[in-house]
């Protein structure tokens, strides 16, 4: 199993730019979509309620534009989600784990195994439908934004967890 994660980088100074990142599981996009449509649904319901019961007539004249604006906004967010999805990547090396994401703001985080306090995997309801988990890695200190990889296959997550646990206890 370890072979799967081995990265043949044994140069003195490992170069972060030279490692191969793996994309997260494609079906996680469906999870994002479900969440996304849930939010849209709520907003849309709110808008319809406003349209039918709250807005006075002079405002309802412009209601079509409001709906259009609404659609346009969500289309924009959808495209953004779609494009940034392919930027979510992770990589494991001999001694550390990295994750990168972001379309407009690119973020790259690396946590060395020797600094990891504990590893967690968890499955949210929608993720579970597709057999996905998220993997969180905690380090000491203000652990608010340590590394979290969402949307990897459950087996993979458990394997990585196992792998890191072994590495920590070495």
């Amino acid at each position: 199993m370890t072979n799967y994660f081995k990265n043949d980088l044994v140069s003195e100074l490992p170069d972060i730019t030279k490692i191969e990142f793996k994309k997260i599981d494609k079906s996680y996009f469906k999870v994002i979509l479900i969440n996304f449509f849930l939010v849209i649904g709520l907003f849309l319901a709110g808008l319809i309620v406003l349209h039918q019961f709250v807005f006075p007539d002079y405002l309802n004249e412009y209601i079509l534009y409001l709906y259009l604006l609404f659609t346009f906004l969500f289309l924009l967010i959808f495209i953004f989600e779609k494009m940034s999805f392919s930027k979510r990547k992770y990589a494991l090396r001999e001694k550390d784990i990295s994750y990168k994401e972001g379309l407009i703001v690119k973020k790259l985080t690396t946590v060395p195994f020797s600094r990891i306090q504990h590893v967690e995997t968890d499955e949210k309801p929608f993720s579970r439908l597709f057999g996905l988990s998220s993997l969180s890695v905690y380090t000491a200190g203000d652990s608010s934004d340590d590394l979290v990889i969402k949307g990897i296959k459950k087996e993979t997550a458990l394997q990585i967890k196992e792998f890191i646990s072994i590495k920590i206890n070495e």
Partner: protein, 500 residues
């Protein structure tokens, strides 16, 4: 003082502890109810003598209740040492049993508030790294017993290798009243003023909430309105207000510095610092060198003039509790240049990093700050214009712009970084100057951020997360960022040294 105390069976605190717990309880009750008491006593004369008796009885009852509670707390508070564990039983109804293994103990600190000073007992707090729950304080121990306890824990682990018997080492730093006076005078008064104002606003909000519920808001509101009207009309009053603010700022600085740092003494020991300070609450902190994650040396133009600096030791924090964080920040004020050198020398080899090339962020950094400050200014001015709709406010731009530009330039100038094989040095500051020293292997994780605008200029931000907070190096050339990234990882992954 070889241990004449037996810790193997359960022992209680010094009986004086009842008094300490009692005062602490009374203080807690007073803090929660002072407004109510204030209201009651304000109209004291209007209360009939019959009711007064009830009130007295009530007070006596509360005081008695607290006394009984204090005694019970005291009775149920027992501790012992067994198999390299510190074991504590406490709780009146809900019994808690805590066991801390020695190797988890980070610090043992002595503290004395004013009551504890009067009856000559020490509060001993045992600090552990990890979950915040496991912080224990024993409210009252005699000095002998406290030191004995500390020694037992210390000898069982490498805590303080030298024995604590008064070896009379010369303190590294001893700040007397005159020095402290200088320190206070050169404090960041602006910051202190804001702190004081924040405190005042909090106080008024508490008062207002209370009066709201009682229905006296109108008088208070009227009072404020009257005053603000007077303010806008009279320049004289503004002048007075300014002077008052300056005086308040000065006083706050003095009070703050004297309260916390009175009689500051720092002893340098083999693998720890011992720091004693405080006016009413005397604190004695043993700070292990290994626990220090990074240090910051700061000064401001005034302090620089008389050649003093302050050092902030950043220790590892445990978890999300924000209030805890402040406690783990240990500040030493009024250091001279050579004392700074000694402190730095005792912690790490810094000469390499100080002699290496001083690197500055890319020009993009300056552009970004300018952009954001001007955006902010535009928003502020539009808001001001919309609320007052007077063209005169734009005259102030003549004054504001040069100041802002000057400030941005100083901020940019003070941003720099230096790297060596094992250390990182980051400088920053606006009015003050802060220089952070970090041993690279103490980094917990590393992050690189790049916006699409930064990508066009080929720069990136580096954020180093340590156990004691983040260190940011903004907008450095991309190749440098990658170098730092790789080097840091290499250093962290190839060290056997414990970060804590």
């Amino acid at each position: 003082m070889n241990n004449s105390f037996d810790f193997s069976s359960f022992s209680k605190q010094s009986p004086k502890g009842i008094f300490v717990i009692y005062t602490a309880l009374i203080y807690k009750v007073l803090k929660a109810t002072w407004l109510l008491l204030f209201i009651v006593f304000k109209d004291f004369s209007e209360i009939s003598s019959f009711n007064v008796n009830y009130i007295y009885a009530g007070f006596v009852f509360i005081l008695l209740f607290l006394l009984i509670r204090a005694i019970l707390i005291y009775k149920n508070f027992q501790f012992k040492i067994k198999d390299d564990h510190f074991i504590l039983n406490q709780g009146i109804l809900k019994k808690t049993n805590t066991a801390i293994p020695f190797h988890r103990i980070q610090n043992i600190n002595f503290k004395q508030n004013i009551f504890q000073q009067i009856i000559n007992v020490y509060e001993v707090s045992i600090e552990t790294a990890g979950t915040s729950k496991t912080e224990i304080s024993i409210k009252a121990l005699s000095l002998e017993k406290a030191t004995a306890l500390k020694e037992i824990i210390a000898t069982n682990k490498e805590f303080n290798s030298e024995n604590n018997i008064e070896t009379e080492i010369k303190p590294l730093l001893n700040i007397d009243v005159k020095e402290l006076f200088k320190v206070s005078l050169t404090e960041n008064h602006l910051q202190n003023l804001f702190l004081f104002l924040a405190l005042l606003i909090g106080f008024f909000q508490q008062l207002q909430q209370f009066t709201d519920s009682i229905g006296k808001t109108e008088t208070l509101d009227g009072f404020i309105k009257e005053n603000t009207n007077a303010l806008t009309t009279s320049l004289f009053l503004i002048f007075i207000l300014l002077i008052a603010l300056i005086v308040i700022a000065l006083i706050t600085s003095f009070v703050r510095v004297f309260l916390v740092h009175f009689n500051l003494k720092v002893y340098l020991k083999e693998n720890a610092y011992e720091i004693n300070q405080g006016l009413f609450t005397k604190k004695s902190i043993v700070l292990k060198k290994g626990k220090v994650q990074h240090i910051r040396i700061s000064t401001n133009p005034l302090k620089q003039l008389i050649g003093i600096y302050f050092v902030t030791f950043k220790q590892a924090v445990s978890g999300k509790t924000n209030s805890k964080k402040k406690e783990k920040l240990i500040r030493i004020v009024g250091c001279k240049k050579d004392q700074i050198e000694t402190i730095k020398n005792s912690l790490f080899h810094f000469s390499d990093v100080e002699n290496s090339l001083k690197k500055f962020p890319d020009n993009y950094y300056k552009r970004r700050i300018f952009l954001f400050t001007f955006l902010f200014l535009i928003i502020v001015y539009t808001a001001l214009y919309l609320t007052f709709s007077r063209i005169e406010i734009f005259y102030s731009i003549l004054l504001v712009i040069p100041i802002v530009v000057f400030l941005v330039f100083t901020k940019v100038k003070k941003r720099f970084y230096k790297t060596s094989d094992s250390m990182l040095l980051v400088g920053k500051g606006l009015l003050e100057t802060h220089i952070t020293y970090l041993e690279i292997f103490k980094v917990q994780n590393i992050k690189m951020k790049q916006t699409i605008f930064q990508k066009r200029s080929n720069v990136a931000d580096i954020i180093l997360q340590t156990a004691s907070g983040k260190i940011k190096i903004p907008c450095i050339p991309f190749s440098d960022a990658i170098n730092i990234y790789n080097h840091t990882l290499y250093k962290v992954e190839n060290t056997n040294k414990e970060w804590m």
